[in-house]
Symmetry: C2
Subunit: 302 residues, 2 copies
């Protein structure tokens, strides 16, 4: 019999829900975790959001998102640091230790830091197409943020994005690259997320998940499918587990082999799913989780 | 002053041209190389195509494409071997030593071997979502083809495709993976192509291009840009050099560092470009090549 103790619904999956509706629907579905986006928090204000979360009894599994660290100019870099420090404090206030980091794209092509996925506008800023330099700037900014994260007990969770987003959202493209980026920093300060949508294609995935586990870096396992054909906004190609190409049995087993027994968060950007009633979406997530994800994880609470 | 001795136009770039028109336009532009697709050859028949190529005086830089080696069933595997042997013989007859290999996707999602890019229909066949197994079958089929390729003096040129095509076109997703796949075989039998559209995002690109050079595997350098936003058919997101996100200066320098001084082939799938007069397309390719590609290559004939 399935147990949903480890399942978390990310608010992006029920994007049209207000924070109150998202908390209520997650609670009504018998779940105990929720992943929050900062825009949902901002809609009611941090103080109110903290009270609402506390009243719900739900545990916040992660806060999305920090990052956007690739600015080539000083003003952009200062703004990024300030925004990430604010995100760290929000995470702490909301009772989660995990802030998901989407590191940003090439300066000429990156969406703006404040953009909400599925609705954000790209803005062109100066800085060129040099990926090597952009990646170095991410490393530099990360090093500047680590002390603040440590001070507040929040982990910067690096999210490698699918290489189709390397120019406009994240120059961090593989889990191996994320581990290299994390390596100089304490595991309490920098982790990685294994998001099936972004990493399923990686020929070295088994080895690099094992490495992430051995190095104590796996902060979150996020599941959703990669749908074909790719949506006209590629970001919205995420689907319910089972609707796309991802081999959840293999990837789940590899994650389980590391001993990971943390929360499994479901974050789906998909117009068709957003149009469905929140309760129906969560029901489908639970069904697919029970069928395709949970059986392959090591620790199944019964 | 630019010299176009090394520049090759792939017929996919002027997709609406017949073989005769493609040969004439390439010749009229003062170029000496052309890359052919098998469908263009099939339109007139191999024998006629060989005569036309000979009469044109152009050198065929590569033949596209062999591959589609992921079938899980015996009939599909036998058909793939037969088709690839035919492709090897066609390449030999057309006077090129290079057959570009697109290895095929997951059996459940792969386009059919005969599909022409930009016009092909996906067909579902049995076999599941197991990428590890699909990749192993590619290695198995490649080993079966190598003796035939060696016998006929044709090189099987492995093309890693961008990871957004890992399910439907090529389970071969990185240049490093291509080199691992090539490793057991002689360099005369198995090479790799560095196609900027597919590999620009790779965090290990500089190192892996150096490895490809050191191992004697670079059979072709193909250039085109990666346009944003991604086209509704992602395959058609290729663009003229300079129109997208690719850093040709860096990648060109890395290729040049290996000592590569072979042909540079331009292969662009793009509806807007296909709608332009062939001569205009080739003129733009020449301009962009002279501005963005040639200056970074080691050996510039003057």
């Amino acid at each position: 019999m399935s147990n949903f103790d480890k399942l978390s619904i990310n608010t992006a999956t029920i994007k049209r829900a207000s924070l109150a509706e998202a908390l209520a629907a997650t609670k009504a579905a018998g779940l105990s975790h929720i992943g929050l986006w900062r825009d949902k928090v901002a809609e009611v204000g941090l103080e109110a959001a903290v009270k609402m979360v506390k009243a719900s009894g739900l545990q916040v599994s992660s806060l999305c998102r920090g990052g956007f660290l690739t600015a080539a100019d000083e003003a952009g870099q200062a703004a990024a640091l300030a925004d990430n420090k604010a995100a760290i404090l929000e995470a702490k206030a909301l009772g989660t230790t995990e802030i998901i980091m989407v590191v940003g794209g090439l300066p000429d092509f990156s969406v703006s830091p404040g953009a909400v996925d599925g609705g954000g506008a790209a803005v062109a800023v100066a800085g060129g197409k040099d990926l090597v330099l952009a990646r170095q700037r991410v490393a530099d900014r990360l090093a500047e943020l680590v002390p603040f994260a440590l001070e507040h007990g929040v982990r910067l969770v690096l999210e490698p994005l699918h290489p189709m987003f390397a120019a406009d959202r994240a120059v961090l493209s593989t889990l191996g690259q994320a581990l290299d980026l994390a390596a100089p920093h304490p595991v309490e300060a920098v982790g990685v997320v294994v998001d099936t949508f972004h990493v399923w294609w990686d020929p070295s995935l088994r080895e690099v998940i094992a490495r992430a586990g051995a190095e104590g870096r796996i902060a979150s396992y996020q599941v959703c499918d990669f749908n074909l054909p790719i949506a006209s906004d590629a970001l919205l190609s995420r689907g319910f587990m089972g609707d796309g190409v991802v081999d959840f049995a293999s990837i789940g087993a590899w994650v389980a082999e590391t001993g990971y027994d943390g929360v499994v968060e479901v974050e789906i950007f998909n117009e068709d799913i957003w149009a469905q009633p929140f309760a129906d979406v969560i029901d489908t997530v639970k069904d697919r989780y029970a069928e395709l994800v949970e059986p392959y994880l090591a620790v199944v609470s019964v």
